[in-house]
Symmetry: C3
Subunit: 311 residues, 3 copies
């Protein structure tokens, strides 16, 4: 891979995306073995710097690094120098001075990873920046779809919920468009404004309209912590108009895939029986997340041999 | 070991307990060497998932895994998806999707580890579930007693304090009964109700009564955080009636063992001079805890060679 | 090294300090390699026990241990048995019972590391005890100065700010005096009382007076969290009288070094243009911190071969 960093899917080509997914698919087998560890990143240092809480994403990166034999360090913003008034750049300069090979950053400010990537020689991976992108989530979603559907060219993916504030939706949108898929989005007006069409999405307003034609239905998490009370009158109402339950799912194609980036608000954006149905590939997404992160660390840190040879 | 999980001592046979203790006794030497690490779990993944705080138990498991060369991941409930409203099962499904070899769980709900054990293929170890069991604490206590007393058949163990709410007491009770020991319990009426006799304990009410005949006196921690003010009028009063001080210890056999699961409330359940006396084996309990956890991880994850050969 | 512990620089000889710095200088290269890991502490256990928050110092120690192939455990006071009322010594006895090779302790009480060092056979490293000492910070500062100035005999180091409450200042003072440097301190009267001259410092009160002659200007962090409002009327006033800005820096020698232990309060003790100027060696301090901690762990844990041979 020619890139130093992974900051978003917006500027990735179809070829680059497919290369990452190919390597990820091969790394998947490492986690199915008894000895779940390969040596290519032995003696390399991977730092996770999460300025927003996200246990599951952080652990996925940490485990990806460990299964490649890297050493990991967890920098968390709580009780850190950030809390003592240090700027992000000063914190990052301090991390850089310890010579990490990669920094995985999650930050509330869109563009924070880009700032670090420009400033430092190590690889920077965006693990979510504000409402901008969450590219490893996008890649794991693409891998999951590709597993089931093969080439995504001409496929239709419905994204439902708070598309406007979702970095998951944005990364998916960029990735899906690069791979030639059609993206249709639906959600309450404030969460799914017409302006999204500039990004290449078809903005619909009813969930039923997008469900019927879809090869994939991706339900977004309602992030109650990010929204004011004005945006939706209640969870129950949201669920009635935009939640996916079995009744609604019946209108979809029988082979449709149901996805969710997790953690699920069961009973809000998705009913429990849908989350646990045979159409749900939610847990495959988690497994693929680990593989995608292994692939990225491997490729960005300059794995020269093919991963099969390295194992 | 034929088991996939360790959920409690209630259903363990004498033979199974002794097998674990035998392996633990052999692993103890690893921690006394200069190079405190053996290879049998290289490339295996051990996840600690503590939904209640317990630094020392978590670190003991983490170090046990590391000394067997496993990789460890710490999932803590703070700031995690649990805090975002995810159910325990969804959290666990996510952990499982990363293919751990073992999950060590502590949870406020009795039965939580059992639910995970049924649902997932990996080994599940109960590190404390509500007021049900804390089996590795029970095993380390048994190992400590066995070291000093040999066969526990016919020995008398006094357990003093809040027996009713103590998962430590319950696990000890099951283990001690399996090994043929006699268990006598004492504590304030609300903490030591007559119903405990159904579990095989002799319920006494005065501490002096149980101290005199005992081969072992196990003082339980008063968990002030779990009790309302009605249960005991004050720490000082508790200490006077149920605390162990040197005066009381004089009535016991000269070779009696004094145990405590820690952390000690010095001056409440035990006076400092007793905690530090030659009869106290409290720190041996900690050392044995590490060995027992190494043995369990080794046995549950399918160590085939004898641990001596593996070292 | 003949010592078991590193508790402070007060009792270190010039020869001991130079030996540590020599080893640190050699270890520095490990972090510049592709494979940033050497084997001398494989199978050894290093526990960090931080009873005060300090992400950056903790991570520096943790990474130092990992780059020497040791296993690390992080004991943090939050949610730990300390929070449940356990004494420091009981907590430490519990850590010791798991047979660590080294305990790195930060604690609000001066003398806490000394208490542990006397009680336990493992190496104890002071990572900051109250307002007493922070010896690894002192050593990394000395290494940074030595890199630029060579022998420090007869050199002049200015320390500016809250010298009285600064363990960083104290460790530097002891180390600099041992190496024959002259130390001049300046700060508001309550932060820089005349009594400091008993430690070998020349107490001045104006910053301009110390800046002019200095080979090194070390600006201390204003720890707003430790001070009452009476000690300084405002950050702005502090900055005007005791902050280092470009205007003031012009009065210093052209080759002067500007240092700061971090995290910087930009605009308070130092203006951003000074922090980022060519005279600033602040990030070299961080890099040297890692090397000094590797050297100490290596020397205290009995590295017998020369570190070059070990790599």
């Amino acid at each position: 891979m020619r890139r130093k960093d992974l900051l978003g899917l917006q500027d990735l080509s179809k070829e680059e995306i497919n290369r990452i997914l190919d390597v990820a698919a091969r790394f998947r087998s490492v986690s199915e073995r008894r000895i779940k560890k390969v040596p290519p990143l032995r003696g390399r240092t991977v730092v996770t710097a999460f300025f927003e809480d996200s246990t599951r994403t952080r652990l996925s990166f940490e485990l990806a690094a460990k299964r490649l034999s890297a050493d990991t360090l967890n920098f968390s913003a709580k009780g850190s120098s950030t809390a003592k008034g240090e700027t992000l750049m000063d914190t990052a300069r301090n991390i850089d001075a310890m010579r990490p090979d990669a920094i995985i950053i999650r930050h509330a400010a869109a563009g924070a990873p880009h700032m670090l990537a420009r400033a430092f020689p190590c690889a920077v991976i965006n693990a979510g920046d504000g409402i901008n992108e969450h590219p490893t989530q996008g890649l794991l979603d693409l891998l999951t779809m590709r597993d089931h559907l093969g080439d995504l060219q001409g496929r239709t993916v419905a994204i439902v919920g708070d598309v406007y504030h979702s970095r998951v939706a944005r990364s998916n949108l960029f990735g899906l468009r690069a791979l030639g898929a059609r993206v249709r989005v639906a959600g309450p007006g404030t969460m799914c404004p017409p302006g999204l069409s500039e990004l290449g999405a078809e903005v619909c307003h009813g969930i039923d309209e997008v469900v019927e034609e879809a090869d994939v239905i991706m339900m977004l998490r309602i992030q109650r912590e990010r929204m004011g009370p004005a945006m939706m009158s209640s969870s129950r109402e949201y669920s009635r108009f935009y939640g996916l339950d079995l009744e609604r799912l019946k209108r979809a194609r029988p082979e449709v895939l149901v996805m969710h980036p997790g953690p699920i608000n069961r009973g809000v954006e998705m009913s429990p029986d849908v989350a646990d149905s045979t159409r749900s590939v939610i847990l495959e997404q988690v497994t693929n997340g680990l593989a995608v992160r292994m692939a990225l660390l491997y490729l960005l840190l300059g794995g020269e041999e093919a991963p099969d040879a390295a194992s």
